[in-house]
């Protein structure tokens, strides 16, 4: 094992970075528990009132649930489409890769507002009239996570040298389908889990598209948060912290799951 020997300057830099990243979070946490916090460094008095109010509000739990299942459906759909698609492109049609690389960065190139307006125009009326429904949102979410899914799956395939593994398996008598299931899938699984997780987090925090596409009809956690910020900063802090903890828990569970599935290989 290589022991890392970080000098004090490295440690100081890391510390500074951690402070920079965690300070806003810590402040939000404190604000969520603060009753009086005006002229002092630390809050003058504490309360659980804001968290209490949040959990008493049925709309919060509803919004959380809505976000959860919309994101889950979108990511699952993306996984179901992208996994075989990227596999086929990387292994059998490498000529298409340049084309795909261009396509998957499009979501970055088009600003959320522009995309939302375009989508609403295209899908209100006409043969596919789904503006304002969950369908259009799931469709948009699919596009949003495209870059993460494509790159993640593709990198995993390249890292494990999928083409050579597949060829070996085929020469040993496996059909393509069986080779994919027995050799490719177990090896790219950790990478796929990470992409899925990343996509999920991105969607969970998505606000612009969601608010413009379905803001009036469907309340996701971000839309809800936006509505409540105006009412009380303390309450919004409580919501943000809860939301953060939720994502943290979800990530941990998925990571553990990924490790467990990969446990056969790592042991």
């Amino acid at each position: 094992m290589i022991k890392s020997r970080a000098g004090w300057s490295h440690r100081a830099l890391m510390l500074l970075l951690m402070v920079y990243l965690l300070l806003p979070l810590a402040a939000t946490l404190l604000y969520g528990f603060a009753k009086q916090w005006q002229t002092t460094v630390m809050p003058e008095s504490w309360t659980l009132e804001w968290f209490g109010e949040m959990f008493r509000d049925l709309r919060f739990l509803e919004a959380l649930w809505t976000s959860l299942y919309l994101c889950a459906i979108s990511v699952a759909l993306s996984l179901a489409v992208m996994l075989p698609a990227v596999f086929v492109i990387t292994v059998y049609l490498p000529k298409w890769e340049t084309f795909m690389k261009g396509i998957v960065v499009l979501p970055y190139a088009v600003p959320g507002v522009v995309a939302a307006v375009g989508l609403i125009r295209a899908y209100s009326g006409g043969p596919i009239d789904i503006a304002g429904t969950a369908y259009i949102l799931i469709g948009a979410y699919f596009i949003v996570v495209l870059p993460y899914m494509y790159q993640g799956i593709r990198n995993s395939l390249i890292t494990v040298s999928a083409v050579e593994l597949l060829h070996s398996a085929e020469l040993l008598g496996a059909s393509r389908k069986r080779a994919f299931v027995t050799v490719i899938l177990p090896n790219i699984w950790p990478g796929v889990i990470i992409s899925t997780l990343l996509s999920f987090s991105v969607l969970f925090g998505e606000f612009v598209l969601t608010n413009m596409l379905v803001g009036g009809h469907i309340q996701t956690i971000q839309v809800y948060l936006y509505r409540r910020v105006g009412e009380s900063g303390h309450l919004a802090s409580a919501i943000a912290i809860t939301y953060f903890l939720f994502i943290l828990a979800l990530s941990t569970v998925l990571m553990k799951l990924g490790k467990k599935m990969n446990g056969v290989a790592e042991k």
Binding site: V160, H167, S168, A265
Partner: protein
């Protein structure tokens, strides 16, 4: 001529506009180890992949015994392959890797077990059977790959630069081991390499490839002693390749009609300059040593004589004349060692 076991006829492959394989014919007998030797990009790996079915040739036929395997998918060809990068399945143990092919072919558990034990013993990895590939050294991984491809008892074994990723010492021991196993199993084998020393040590027969053609084939001795073209002469060793004019100058007589000639570096003897007068029975030329490099058991001199630069190899036995850089020497030349070369592509 006995009927060959694996017979390639007119294999052609283009990648875009460039011809990678130019109507290649190749016959291999059962139990023979044939090496495809050539510089990178000469088409040797592509030819191997065509036999395995991983690359589809644009034309030609591949017969294995009575079967035209050119039309079958890779998994039905009964061909085993070992890759340069090992391509072991990282999610499976050594044992499971070897077992994989048997499982895919529906062998029952008892048969799988006995076959795996047998192969683990063959490659001497019994104590590593529960290890994962990433826990093994490169040499061990390649031995697992070999065992894995042998497990399904292929009719032909293809080795695609199997030793290129290993360090020199392991490479030498593993190539002996591969040759040993191949002989014991009488496995028909095609070995691809760009290393002429490797080819000379393991092969029954060597096919030298260049620009998508097999330019010469024969036993290692034949190829080393009688290169037909300049390309083979340069590739097979450190042959001195001389133009007709240069050869004439060096030997002091008109040498023949070929455009170029090859002279083995070990056929030239280095003598003290004073010895020049003493040997009238042979052609002795004056020269100057330009550089000396010691290659272990051989000392390699670069000598200029009559304006021709020659490589001269002498045994490093402490007995033959040792000149120093810049010193004048006499070269003893034997015109019977001069090999006429054919024109490229003739």
């Amino acid at each position: 001529m006995s009927a060959s076991y694996l017979e390639l006829r007119g294999i052609r492959k283009m990648f875009g506009d460039s011809t990678v394989l130019n109507d290649v014919d190749l016959s291999i007998n059962e139990g023979e180890l044939v090496t495809l030797l050539g510089p990178s990009g000469c088409g040797k790996s592509t030819l191997l992949r065509c036999i395995a079915g991983l690359t589809e040739p644009d034309g030609g036929s591949i017969m294995l015994g009575p079967t035209n395997i050119g039309e079958l998918p890779p998994r039905r060809r009964e061909v085993g392959m070992v890759f340069q990068s090992y391509a072991l399945f990282p999610n499976l143990t050594v044992y499971e890797n070897i077992e994989y092919g048997l499982k895919m072919r529906g062998a029952d558990k008892k048969e799988r077990q006995s076959r795996c034990e047998e192969l683990l013993a063959l490659v001497d990895l019994e104590n590593k059977k529960d290890a994962y590939p990433q826990q093994l050294s490169g040499g061990q991984q390649q031995r697992v790959a070999l065992a894995r491809s042998l497990a399904v008892q292929p009719k032909v074994l293809l080795l695609d630069e199997p030793l290129s990723a290993l360090d020199a010492k392991i490479r030498k021991s593993l190539r002996t081991e591969i040759r040993d196993i191949q002989r014991r199993l009488k496995m028909t084998t095609i070995f691809v390499t760009h290393d002429q020393e490797e080819a000379l040590t393991v092969s029954d027969r060597i096919c030298i490839m260049n620009n998508g053609n097999i330019v010469q084939d024969g036993s290692p001795e034949e190829l080393y002693a009688k290169p037909r073209t300049e390309f083979v002469a340069r590739f097979m060793g450190s042959y001195n390749v001389l133009s007709r004019e240069e050869a004439g100058r060096l030997f002091g007589v008109a040498v023949g009609s070929a455009a170029s000639y090859a002279l083995r570096p070990e056929s030239v003897r280095l003598l003290p300059a004073s010895a020049g007068e003493a040997r009238r029975d042979r052609r002795v030329a004056d020269g100057t040593i330009e550089s000396i490099s010691v290659l272990g058991n051989i000392v390699r001199y670069s000598v200029v004589s009559s304006g021709v630069k020659l490589t001269v190899d002498a045994l490093n036995d402490g007995q033959s004349h040792r000149g120093e850089e810049g010193a004048a020497v006499a070269l003893e030349l034997d015109s019977s060692q001069l090999l006429a070369l054919e024109k490229e592509g003739a």
